[in-house]
Structure formats: structure tokens, C-alpha cells
């Protein structure tokens, strides 16, 4: 190597260092969003909620730009969730059942003008404030630490530890509106590989004897059976926290059910709330109140014999506000 080449190498190294140092939190979050679609890996992570820790295996495989992820319980062999852009599969070995949800026209959903999937790229700084925290080291990797803090109490905050080389989130925390950690995932080991076999994101146990519950989700607006001459009846939330907009409207058909379930998705670009509207629900299931599953809140109410539930990774006040504001509105034909 000549002196000239050495100097050039040194300059490039120095320049990269300066460029990395100059990167702000949004640059890192954009990199993380890209890594979700570019980087394959597998590893073990700890999920912590309410002081209880569970161990989970994750395989994240990219093939031709499509990401498939398999999350497997360490406690119950074979209990797993497998997601790809067209399908979600939950394998429940104790119940010998599989719940499959097929997303009809999944690949076209990206083209929909309504459809901006929530994510950390281009965070709206009027709603969330970003900050770089002290670098840290997770699972043997240097990380950049980013805080995402909401400006009001209608959404959660986040802290992310991003691998300095791959921009994959090696640690992630959900922060309540009171500033307390609600949930955390933490990789204890992670292995990056461009050659993860397809079998590693397939169900890990034989399912020949399992029953299969299959539902199909369509992005087309559902046709209401009580459509009137005055126009199409559509459900809509009439009160939303600042920054939330309707991003997706779709319906879900379940075998054996006459009435499709309607789903409205509201998002502020980072957080999201789905409103599910179901008709034909048994009377004893028509209830009002809160359901909570770790950081996920769901508020249920009823209107005109429909069960209305707002679900999201957001504070209680947000799902409650949205659920209680849902109304059937008629639109002109």
C-alpha cells in the first residue's frame, strides 16, 4: 500500500467518523426503519413487563425485499407468531389450533394513498421530541440510544438502543405517559446472517392434527347490510387526539359469520389505534370497559347493537376517547 493510499484510507475513516458523529436521532431512526426491510438476523430476547421476564426466540428473514418474522415462545414449544406481508399465523400448540389471517391484496396495500404504515421514519416533531442519549453496549454490540418523547399524554414514549453497525433495535422500551417503563425487549444474543433458511421462519412443529381458523382481511370498504337510499353508512371516530388521522379502513370476514368486522386504523405516524366494529355479537358479550394486555389497551363500548372496541399501544385515555366517539355516519352515494 502506498503512502497516498494510506492517507486516503485515513481520510475516509475520519470522514465516516465525523459523519456518524453528526447523525441526529432522526437519521438513526430512518436507518432502523430501513434495516427492518434489509437485515436478516436471529436471536434471543427477554421480554419484561410488570417485573416478569419471558424468553423469546426471534428469526427475521429478508428475501427479495420481503420480511418474514417468526417469534417463538421459549416456555411453550411451538407456540409462535409468524408474520409476512400477506399473512399472519398464530400457532397454539396447547389448543392444537392455528389462527391464520390472510391479508387480501397485501402487496398492493403499499400503493394506497390512505395507507401510511406507522413507523419511526420521519417522526412528526410537532408530536414527538427526539433526543440522543448516552451510547450503550447491548449483547456485545455498541449502540446509539434514542429517546422519543410525546408532547402530550395521548401517546406513549419510546427508547431505542440501535446497533451502531446494523441499526437494528437491540433494546426497546415503551414508556408510559407518566414516564414509567411499561414493557421492554432486550436481545441477549443476536446473529446477523444473509443465509437464513426459509424453514427457520416456518412453523417449528408439525401441525397435521391442528384445526385451522382462517379469516380474510380486505381493504375494500365493507358494504353495510343496512345501506339506505340516503347513502352508505360508515362508522367513524368523531374525536381524535391531535395528529391522529384515519389511515386504513378495511373489513375482515370470518367463516361462519354473516357480518364482516370493520376495522378503522387511526395513526399519528408512529402510534396507532384500530377501531373494530362488529355486528351480530352475542348479547352477553356486549359490554363496556377496559381490557389491558401489557402496554396494549382496548376500550369497548356498544352502539346500535354493534360492539365497538378501540385497541392500541397507547394510553387508556386515548382508546377510551376514540371508542366513545365512534358514530355511524351516512355518506352521500
Amino acid at each position: 500500500m502506498t503512502d497516498w493510499q494510506r492517507w486516503l484510507g485515513a481520510i475516509l475513516v475520519a470522514w465516516n467518523g465525523i459523519a456518524a458523529a453528526a447523525d441526529g436521532p432522526q437519521d438513526w431512526l430512518n436507518r432502523m426503519a430501513s434495516a427492518t426491510q434489509l437485515v436478516s438476523y436471529q436471536g434471543t430476547l427477554l421480554h419484561t413487563c410488570a417485573g416478569v421476564v419471558d424468553v423469546v426466540q426471534i428469526v427475521h428473514r429478508i428475501e427479495n425485499g420481503r420480511a418474514t418474522a417468526r417469534v417463538t415462545s421459549h416456555a411453550v414449544a411451538g407456540r409462535e407468531i409468524i408474520r409476512n406481508p400477506d399473512e399472519v399465523m398464530c400457532v397454539l400448540p396447547e389448543q392444537k389450533s392455528i389462527v391464520v389471517e390472510t391479508l387480501q391484496g397485501g402487496s398492493q396495500r403499499e400503493d394506497s394513498p390512505m395507507n401510511k404504515m406507522p413507523g419511526f421514519s420521519n417522526v412528526d416533531t410537532a408530536i414527538y421530541k427526539l433526543a440522543m442519549l448516552q451510547p450503550d453496549r447491548i449483547a456485545g454490540h455498541d449502540t446509539e440510544v434514542i429517546a422519543v418523547r410525546p408532547v402530550d399524554e395521548y401517546r406513549y414514549g419510546y427508547r431505542l438502543w440501535l446497533d451502531r453497525n446494523k441499526a437494528v433495535a437491540l433494546k426497546f422500551e415503551l414508556i408510559s405517559e407518566a414516564g414509567e417503563m411499561l414493557e421492554q425487549i432486550l436481545f441477549t444474543d443476536i446473529e446477523y446472517s444473509d443465509h437464513i433458511p426459509a424453514a427457520d421462519v416456518s412453523p417449528s412443529i408439525p401441525m397435521d392434527t391442528f384445526t385451522r381458523q382462517h379469516s380474510t382481511v380486505s381493504v375494500e370498504p365493507p358494504v353495510q347490510r343496512d345501506q339506505s337510499p340516503q347513502g352508505l353508512m360508515r362508522w367513524r371516530a368523531t374525536e381524535l387526539p391531535a395528529g391522529f388521522n384515519l389511515t386504513v379502513r378495511r373489513s375482515k370476514t370470518v367463516p361462519g359469520s354473516l357480518d364482516p368486522m370493520e376495522q378503522l386504523v387511526y395513526s399519528d405516524g408512529l402510534g396507532s389505534v384500530s377501531v373494530f366494529i362488529e355486528a351480530g355479537v352475542d348479547e352477553d358479550e356486549l359490554a363496556e370497559g377496559l381490557s389491558r394486555f401489557a402496554g396494549t389497551n382496548a376500550f369497548t363500548t356498544t352502539m346500535e347493537d354493534h360492539l365497538i372496541t378501540a385497541v392500541g399501544y397507547v394510553p387508556v385515555r386515548t382508546v377510551k376517547m376514540i371508542a366513545l366517539s365512534v358514530r355511524p355516519l351516512r355518506e352521500s352515494p
Binding site: M32, D54, F120, L182, D189, V217, S272, F276
Partner: protein, 192 residues
């Protein structure tokens, strides 16, 4: 509980546990609720020692310190460095922790805490109650709708979570799938 297990739990959180030991430890964790609770408290301590001071937006630090420390041996004279999770926990593992350590940590953290949460007096800190529980801990999962319906909703909403949130929710679902025996904390509620 053996010293070795505590050291392994500490090393696990640091990402320093050899892969071959991880699998064995995970099996023990699944079988032993006490180990999982200890790991949960270590995780809280991580927040207190590393996460929270670095992020001044986090509240209730003092209360959570007291709660986490309550569950650890309270009579040691060893001082806890505030800049190293690994060293701190290993110190706790080895010899427990003194009330003076709690004070040291609290004072250190309070210097960068921006909220107006009142900080307990030193005398108060030295008489930590054994029955104190972690304020951040919610009573658990609770349901007004059926677990099967909530599972269906979570599956349908899953693609609209941002990516790290989706992984977090999926991790919780496979660990505590609503309606399965692993979901131990269902509690009825009619309103919030």
C-alpha cells in the same frame, strides 16, 4: 438461590453469558418463577442505573429504586458505582446492598431529574418497608372482552404497530397468549 445463578442472570442482561450457558439458564428461568422475578428486578435496576439517568423524562425514579432495592439484601456496606450496570449488579449479587447505596444512587439521579416529584428524605430511605411494591407495576392483564376476541384484534392490528412495538407485542403474546394457561393475570373490569 445460588450465587452462580445470580451471576448468570447478571451476565445475561449484559449480553456476556456464553451461548452454551444461556440455554440452560433459560430452561431454569421457565421453571422457576423466583429466578424470573429476580431477573425482572435486575431489569428495573438497569433502568435506574443506566436508562433513567440518561433520560431525564423518566419519572418516579426514587420510588422505583426503593422498590427494586427492597427485594435485594439490604444490609451490605458495599457502595454501588452509578455508571456501570454490570458492576453494580454484580456487587449486589455478591454482597447485597446498603441503605447508603440507595441514598448515593438517589442523590446522583436527582441531580438530573427534571420533574417535580418530591424526593424522599434520607431518613425515610433508610426505613424501606419490606412490603413496598413497584409503583410502575400494573396489576396485570385484564379483560372486558373475551380473550379470544382480544387475540383476534391484536393479530389484526399487529401490522399497524411500528416495528419494535410489533416485536414487543408479539413477544408478549407468545409468552402470555390471552386465554391460555400462561396468561395468569386476567382480571375483570367494567370501567377504568
Amino acid at each position: 438461590m445460588s450465587q452462580s445463578i445470580k451471576e448468570q442472570l447478571s451476565a445475561l442482561l449484559d449480553g456476556e453469558l456464553p451461548i452454551e450457558e444461556e440455554e440452560l439458564l433459560f430452561r431454569q428461568l421457565e421453571k422457576n418463577q423466583e429466578y424470573r422475578a429476580i431477573l425482572g428486578r435486575y431489569t428495573l435496576l438497569t433502568e435506574l442505573i443506566q436508562g433513567s439517568p440518561a433520560d431525564p423524562a423518566v419519572l418516579s425514579v426514587s420510588e422505583r429504586i426503593r422498590a427494586a432495592l427492597t427485594e435485594l439484601a439490604p444490609h451490605s456496606e458495599r457502595r454501588m458505582p452509578t455508571n456501570s450496570w454490570s458492576t453494580a449488579v454484580k456487587g449486589l449479587v455478591g454482597a447485597g446492598i446498603a441503605a447508603s447505596v440507595a441514598i448515593l444512587a438517589l442523590i446522583s439521579m436527582n441531580t438530573i431529574e427534571r420533574d417535580s416529584t418530591p424526593v424522599p428524605a434520607i431518613a425515610e430511605l433508610q426505613t424501606v418497608s419490606d412490603s413496598y411494591t413497584v409503583p410502575a407495576v400494573e396489576p396485570g392483564n385484564r379483560m372486558v372482552i373475551t380473550p379470544a376476541r382480544l387475540t383476534s384484534y391484536l393479530v389484526s392490528h399487529g401490522e399497524f404497530f411500528n416495528a419494535p412495538s410489533r416485536l414487543t407485542v408479539d413477544s408478549h403474546m407468545v409468552s402470555k397468549m390471552p386465554g391460555t394457561p400462561a396468561d395468569q393475570h386476567i382480571e375483570a373490569s367494567q370501567d377504568d
